[in-house]
Symmetry: C2
Subunit: 206 residues, 2 copies
């Protein structure tokens, strides 16, 4: 493995590879090929080979890839060979659904703190975590050294909450609010927006 | 506007442009520039100009783009100048949150049907829509001529539900289940998976 940074567009594909490979692992696959992997996720075998060659040689010519080895390597590259604590801001329907999502821990994540500004929600316990008031958010996130936040607040408060998260030292935000956030360069934002995904498909419909 | 198909990667950016432009429209902007738009969404001005030039000339050199005109044009291109009825499969926490999401209708979508296989959920009313049993799913979707489905079922049943959706004539699936779906070439799938988004960011964290 060399030290050249992997292009962001490649990084964007690695979690998809990891997801498919973990699924293969559950199904008992020991070995796979770029062709087989590509067919599962709709990416060309050549692209997969190129992406994986960016940071080392995992497969032997003609012998395919060892699935468990590749899973371990990808987890290491993506730094999900550990558990990242996260803060969830917004304890509405969506926040509750996310807090209860079972897949986090096995994929490198754990909801550690939940915040809401609604006094009626504060004190509720979701997935064994008490909802705290957002007034304590900055200091609590800081004292827990949490770097990742998930944002499920209404669009109109998303930017002001984000500003507080940045003050608290958050470096990665998964934003469910339907608004583009302004953040400094060292803060990463990913958007989860059903509208964006749906509008991307309607172009192709009759 | 010419009739050449727009590359898929460009289509993928158009909903982001539309989202930012609609936000500008709400804030009363009449005119914008590729620079201003680019700064809001983190895409270069040159890329935006190139993307928008693919299907016609919307801006005049040095005069910027008319925001309302561009919104109208993008909605037309993405075919969200109409309302698409959708079927929602899975009435758990996440399904409920999605059914209650207020943003659909103003962006071209409406949840028209909700299905679940759990007898305890069937008959519940979510956002004024009664939950139907999945046993009636194929014929009900067919009779409503619905082309878009949102999938919020557990991963282990997602593929079998998808097979039924394809039988029912669904051509676009927004999949919240953490599994890659196998579909025919004429069926579009978009994945909403917090894990994929989170893993894409941890690479950059210390």
């Amino acid at each position: 493995m060399n030290d050249k940074p992997i292009p962001d567009i490649v990084i964007g594909r690695l979690p998809r590879y990891l997801q498919a490979l973990e699924h293969m692992l559950e199904q008992g696959y020991a070995v796979t090929s770029s062709k087989e992997l590509g067919e599962q996720i709709g990416i060309s075998a050549a692209q997969i080979r190129k992406d994986l060659s960016q940071y080392g040689e995992f497969g032997k010519q003609g012998k395919g890839y060892s699935v468990p080895f590749l899973v371990t390597q990808l987890k290491q590259i993506l730094k999900v060979d550990r558990i990242w604590d996260m803060a969830l801001i917004g304890a509405g329907n969506l926040g509750k659904a996310i807090a209860n999502y079972q897949g986090f821990t096995e994929h490198g994540f754990r909801v550690a703190l939940i915040f809401d500004s609604d006094p009626q929600k504060v004190g509720q316990v979701i997935h064994q975590i008490p909802v705290l008031h957002t007034s304590t958010m900055i200091e609590t996130i800081q004292s827990h050294h949490i770097k990742i936040a998930m944002l499920t607040v209404p669009a109109q408060v998303a930017q002001s909450v984000t500003n507080q998260l940045i003050q608290a030292g958050i470096k990665a935000i998964l934003n469910y609010a339907p608004i583009t956030l302004s953040v400094p360069e060292d803060v990463h934002v990913q958007y989860v927006d059903p509208i964006i995904h749906l509008q991307r498909m309607t172009y192709y419909l009759d």
